[in-house]
Amino acid sequence: MIAAIPSAVLVGVDATVVSVEVHVSNGLPGFTVVGLPDAAVRESRDRVRAALLSSGLQWPLRRVTVNLAPSGMRKGGAGLDLPIAVGVLVASGVLPPRSVEGMAFVGELGLDGSLRGVPGAVVLAEVLRRYRLVVPEESAHEASLAGECDIRVAATLAALVDRLSGRRPWGEVGTTPDGSFRAASKPPGRPHAADLADIRGQRLARRALEVVAAGGHHLLLVGPPGSGKTMLARRLPGLLPGLDRPTALEATRIHSVAGLPLPPGGLIEEPPFRAPHHGASPVAMIGGGTTWMRPGEISLAHGGILFLDELGEFPAVVLDALRQPLEDGQVRVSRARGSTSFPARFILVGAMNPCPCGEGGAPGACRCSRAAQERYARRLSAPFLDRFDIAIRVDRPLAQELFGPPSAEGSATVAARVAGARERAAERGVRVNADMAGPRLADDAPLSSGAAAIVERQIRSGTLSARGMHRVHRLSRTIADLDGAGEVIGETQVREALLLRGQRRLLPGGGLR
C-alpha cells in the first residue's frame, strides 16, 4: 500500500514542499529512504522505527520504501521524521488514509515517541499554508506567526495517532488566527538594558549615534582601547524604531531558520544586535553551508546592527565580502548545488584602534612607527572604508566628564527625535536617508548657497572627493531632519556633517579620505 504525506524542508530562508511517499510491500523486511536524503534524514529510519515501537505501535515486518519527492532536490534536517512515521502508519494500514487527508506534518521524533521542535517552523508553516499542519508543541509558537493557517499540536506520536484515528479530539491549542496570539504575550514597553543615559560625556559620539539611527548611515568608531566603543555601539538598537511588519517577519524567519531562540512574543520586533568575533569564518558571516544553507551573521543582523569590534582583525576576505550586501541589502550565496539569497539590510558599526598602540599618531603620544601605522591601515581596503558615512574618533572620557553631574539625555528622548527624522525621510519616499539616490539629492536635499560654497571649497582644496560629497550631502540631510531645520540645508548642518564624516587621516597610516 502507498501513502503520500505533505511536508516541507528549508532552502535558505525559504522552504519547499516535499511529498513523503511511503510504500509498504511484501518482500524481505527492510527500510530504505530514497530521494537525496542527507545524513540527518537517512538516520531518521532508526528514529522512526524506535519511536513507533516505543509508542506501542506495530512496525510492519515488510519491505518499506520511502521516497522524498521531488527526488532531484537534496533534503536536510530532521523535520521529516514525523511525516515518514505517519506515512508508514498509513501505508501499513494502522491509520485510514482518510484520517490524514488535507494534513501536513513537520517534526523530529525522539526514540521514546516524543515530538521535538524544528528550526524554521515559521517558514515551513508558510509554504504548507493550504494544509492543516501538525507541528510539535515546541514549534507551535513559531509556526503560528506564519499568519492564517490551521495549526495542530501534538506532544507525542501516540497522542497524534489517538487524535488522527478520532479516539480523542484535537485540543483548542493549535488554531491561531493571525496576530491575536502575539498581542497577548507581547511584553509592554521597550525595556532596554543599555540606555544612552549611562554614557558620561562623549557628546560627539552620542550625536553620531543619533544621526546613525536617524539616517541609517554606517558608523566607524576609531579610538584607543577602553574608550567605550563597544559600550556606545550597544546603545544603538535602543535608538532605532521597532521593526516594521515585513522586516520583523523577515528577521523572524531568519532567526527561526538559523535555529536561534525567538523572543517571548514570537515575532522579532526589536532591531537585532549582532557582534560576531573577528575569528568568524566567511561562511559564518555571510551564510552558506552544505545541504542546509544557514544564514550568516549579516542576515541575523537584518533590520538591526552588525557590530564588528576590532575591525582591523577581521580577515580581509570577510570584510570585502560585506561590500556587496552593504550595497544590495541582501546576500546571494552560491554553492555547487544551487544558490539562495538571504536578506541582509543592516547598519554596520565598526570599531578599531587608530594604530597598533591606539594613540592614533597624536604627536608626542603615539609610539608607532610610520611603517606600523601604514601596515595597520592597509588591513582595510579603501572601498570598504568608504562605506562608512560617519567616522569619528572616540577618546577615553575626561575626568571632569566622569565625575561631573550626569546631564545626558536617555535613549527614549533621543529615540523620539530619531523617529521624527525618519518620518521626514519617509515623507520624501525613502526608507532612510542613507538610501537616497544620488540624482535625488539636488531635489530632496537642496543646499543653501552658503552651504554649497562650503562643500565647493572642500572639494577644491582636495579634502573631499566627489563620492565623499554625496555622503556629506546625505548626512547633512539627516542632520537637518533631526534638527527640524526644514527643507533647505544650512551651513551649520553641512559643517556638522563634515565633522562627522571624519577628518582626513583618522587612521594616521592613511586609508580614510
Partner: protein, 396 residues
C-alpha cells in the same frame, strides 16, 4: 670647596645616572645647581626625586671618576650661563640643562647657522642636493648644523666638510646618543671629522645608547641652534617635520627643497611648501632667507623667541612677506584681524592649544552646542587659524 670643573662634573654625574632623561635632569637642576642637586639626590632628599630612584646609583658614583672619564674622552660639559654654552640656547624654552660637546663649541657663535635636515631613507637626489647646499653654504662661511644620521644628515655634513675652507664654516652636529656611542656606526669617520673641524653636541651622557625617544628631542636643539632650517627630503609625517615644527614654534623660518610629486621621500617637503614654507632651489635662496632672518633677529634683539603662538607656516591669508608671515597671520587671527572672530570661534580658538586637542575636549572646554563647535572648527580651519589632524585640532 669647589674646584674649577666641579660644577660640570657634578652635572655630568647627574646626567649619567641610569634612567636619567633630559626632562628629569632639568627638573633636578632647576633651582638647585649641580652640586646641591647632586648632594640632595645622594641623600635622597631631592623634591624632584620623591621616590629616591637616583639615590642608590648616586651613592655608588664617584664624581671625580666621572670627571676623569669626560676628560679622557675629550668631552666638555657645558652648563647654561657657563663658558661655551651656545648663546642662542640661553633663554630657549626647550634649552638642555646640560650639554656635552666634543670639539670646539665656540664655532656656533658669531656666524650664520643653517640646519640641513631630512629623512634617513633619502634618495640619491636628496643626498646630492643636501651635499651641494651644505658645501656652498659652508664656503660662504655658514655653519651647517645637522644630526649625523643616515641619509640627508650625513650628506649635509659631508658636503659641509668639503666646502669648509680655513675655518670659515665649521660643521656642527647634534646627536641623540652619548658622545662615545657612534650611531649609526657607518658614520664613524664623518663623526670624527665633524668633531675635529667643528663640534658635536649631545644632551645625553657618555654611554647613552640610541633609542627612539632621543632623536625627536635632539631635533629641537638642531632647530634652536639655527637661523634657518632647510628640510631637503622628508616623508609624509617624517621625523624631520618635527624639526620644522620646532623651528616654526620658535619663529625660525623653515625652507624646503621641492621634489618630484611621485617621490614619497618628498611628500613631506612638498607638503611644507604647500603650507607656505620658503622653497629652496640653491644656496642663494637659503642665504636670502638667512639674511632676512638675521635682520629680523636684530630688529627684535634682546626679546626672547616668542613661543606663545605656534607659527607653523601655513596657507596665509595675506602674502605680504615670505619668512615669518605664517606667524604674523596667526597672531592677526588671535587679535581678531583681518578676519574678526565670531564669539563661538573665539571660544573654540581659546579652547584649542598647540598640542593636539580632540573634539570632545573642545566640547568640554567650551560648553558650546555640538553644531556650533563643529561650525566654528570648520571655519577656523578654513581661515587657516586651526589645523586638523587625525581626529584632533591644534593651532596652526
Amino acid at each position: 670647596m669647589i674646584d674649577s670643573g666641579q660644577l660640570e662634573y657634578h652635572a655630568g654625574a647627574l646626567a649619567g645616572l641610569p634612567g636619567m632623561t633630559p626632562v628629569r635632569l632639568a627638573k633636578l637642576l632647576d633651582g638647585f645647581g649641580p652640586v646641591l642637586a647632586w648632594q640632595a639626590v645622594k641623600a635622597g632628599t631631592h623634591p624632584a626625586d620623591p621616590r629616591r630612584k637616583f639615590a642608590v646609583p648616586a651613592r655608588r658614583t664617584d664624581v671625580d671618576d666621572v670627571g676623569r672619564r669626560y676628560a679622557r674622552a675629550g668631552v666638555r660639559i657645558l652648563l647654561p650661563g657657563g663658558a661655551g654654552y651656545p648663546s642662542m640656547l640661553e633663554g630657549d624654552p626647550g634649552a638642555p640643562a646640560v650639554l656635552f660637546a666634543s670639539g670646539d663649541p665656540a664655532v656656533v657663535e658669531g656666524r650664520a647657522r643653517v640646519a640641513i635636515v631630512g629623512t634617513r631613507s633619502a634618495t640619491h637626489y636628496g643626498r646630492q642636493v643636501a651635499s651641494e647646499l651644505a658645501a656652498e653654504l659652508a664656503g660662504h662661511g655658514v655653519v651647517v648644523v645637522s644630526g649625523l644620521a643616515r641619509g640627508i644628515d650625513g650628506a649635509a655634513h659631508a658636503g659641509a666638510l668639503r666646502g669648509e675652507t680655513g675655518g670659515a664654516g665649521p660643521p656642527v652636529a647634534v646627536v641623540g646618543t652619548g658622545l662615545d656611542v657612534v650611531y649609526p656606526p657607518s658614520n664613524r669617520d664623518l663623526w670624527a671629522r665633524v668633531a675635529g673641524r667643528g663640534v658635536v653636541f649631545s644632551e645625553s651622557a657618555l654611554g647613552t645608547q640610541p633609542h627612539p625617544g632621543v632623536f625627536p628631542a635632539r631635533n629641537r636643539i638642531i632647530a634652536a641652534l639655527a637661523d634657518v632650517v632647510v628640510v631637503v627630503e622628508s616623508h609624509h609625517g617624517g621625523g624631520s617635520l618635527y624639526t620644522a615644527e620646532a623651528a616654526a614654534r620658535r619663529g625660525i623660518p623653515v625652507c624646503a627643497v621641492p621634489g618630484s610629486v611621485h617621490s614619497r621621500a618628498s611628500a613631506g617637503t612638498n607638503g611644507l611648501l604647500v603650507d607656505g614654507c620658503i622653497p629652496v632651489r640653491d644656496a642663494t635662496d637659503v642665504l636670502v632667507a638667512v639674511a632676512l632672518a638675521r635682520a629680523g633677529q636684530d630688529a627684535r634683539a634682546g626679546a626672547p623667541p616668542s613661543v606663545d603662538v605656534a607659527p607653523y607656516p601655513r596657507a596665509q591669508p595675506s602674502r605680504s612677506a615670505r619668512a615669518p608671515a605664517g606667524a604674523r597671520a596667526s597672531r592677526d587671527v588671535e587679535r581678531g584681524a583681518p578676519a574678526p572672530l565670531t564669539p563661538a570661534q573665539r571660544t573654540v580658538w581659546e579652547a584649542v592649544d598647540d598640542t593636539p586637542t580632540a573634539f570632545e575636549t573642545i566640547l568640554v572646554r567650551t560648553d558650546l552646542p555640538l553644531a556650533a563647535a563643529a561650525e566654528a572648527c570648520g571655519q577656523l580651519v578654513e581661515s587657516g587659524a586651526l589645523r586638523s589632524g587625525a581626529g584632533w585640532w591644534s593651532r596652526s
